[in-house]
Point group: C2
Chain length 188, copies 2
């Protein structure tokens, strides 16, 4: 094997989510994979969205958004939300949705988990706005929980890799985190 330099715009495996935001009073939904939790207390999540995206406009209008975790049964709808802009097509009827405590962040009832977020900070990057939201409420179906938390083996979440543009399922359990590394303690 040779170690070589490759294209810098390289990707890691990415969790697939759908961002919900009201734009001009109407729900819009956009697939987002550049998303990560960023703070525990209070719980915060960040999502990077193109500055020209319709969803960015909505987040600035209301300072609220939702992060929804779709399951495999929404694969086609999820891909559609990443292909077509709300500027071109009305996506408000694509899913059953509801509002929570903020009143302006449409949450997808067809998704196992929806996080309702209040915008706390926007970081302006060259291409994107990085929206950092405080998670103010999480709605989930009891069926997809284990001990009160999401059970991703049941949820069948989507993962994406780029630039090959593939969706993947979550695979097999391969180890217990914060545990198997303990075996190294004696050796290092």
């Amino acid at each position: 094997m040779n170690r070589i330099s490759i294209e810098k715009n390289v990707y890691i495996p990415m969790p697939v989510t759908i961002v919900g935001a009201n734009v001009e009073g109407k729900p819009n939904f956009m697939t987002a994979v550049w998303v990560s939790r960023v703070n525990s207390n209070p719980p915060m999540i960040a999502v990077a969205i193109g500055k020209e995206h319709y969803t960015s406009k909505g987040i600035f209008e209301n300072n609220t958004f939702s992060i929804n975790v779709p399951a495999q049964d929404l694969l086609v709808e999820t891909d559609y939300c990443g292909l077509i802009s709300g500027k071109e097509r009305d996506k408000s009827q694509l899913f059953e949705f509801c509002y929570g405590v903020t009143g302006t962040a449409p949450m997808i009832k067809d998704c196992p988990i929806s996080m309702e977020c209040k915008l706390v900070q926007t970081v302006e990057l060259p291409d994107n706005h990085l929206f950092i939201g405080e998670i103010v409420r999480v709605a989930a179906y009891d069926f997809f929980l284990r001990g009160g938390s999401p059970d991703y083996k049941k949820i069948h979440p989507l993962l994406m890799t780029l630039p090959d543009s593939n969706y993947w399922s979550l695979g097999e359990h391969i180890g217990d985190a914060h545990k198997i590394g303990k075996f190294m303690k004696v050796n290092v």
Copy 2:
């Protein structure tokens, strides 16, 4: 199924990476799962790290860090790096490493892919620093590439879920992104 409110500190499936940073001139490695690409041009990646973490100290010292993508064969070492702080234990000999163009971001040669990053912005959050880095160079083994880009089916990356603390493999290919949603166009 009942839709209920659950604990707000909820997680999505997370890609597992190892952050490399020199602290007081010596490499340190820390497992990080709150990581996401955030900008395309120039390519940027963000990682949220606890303010008190040893790695944060190193990133501030040099304004550089690396993001390394471990494969399943490094599962135990990866978990170890998330369990033990560099304050307690010297982790500099845990991996074979090298430096790139910055000279201060230790990259793990045992990982299929390593990104060398220059710090461009630090966002201070209540618990964490969100470090945003420009990816200035990516090193990879040709064996793990397809068409010049990472082939994650070959790489066998790690994913993590919390609070159940499980590691998962990447699963099966379940669809072509930016493609299967086209079938919806006629219906919506």
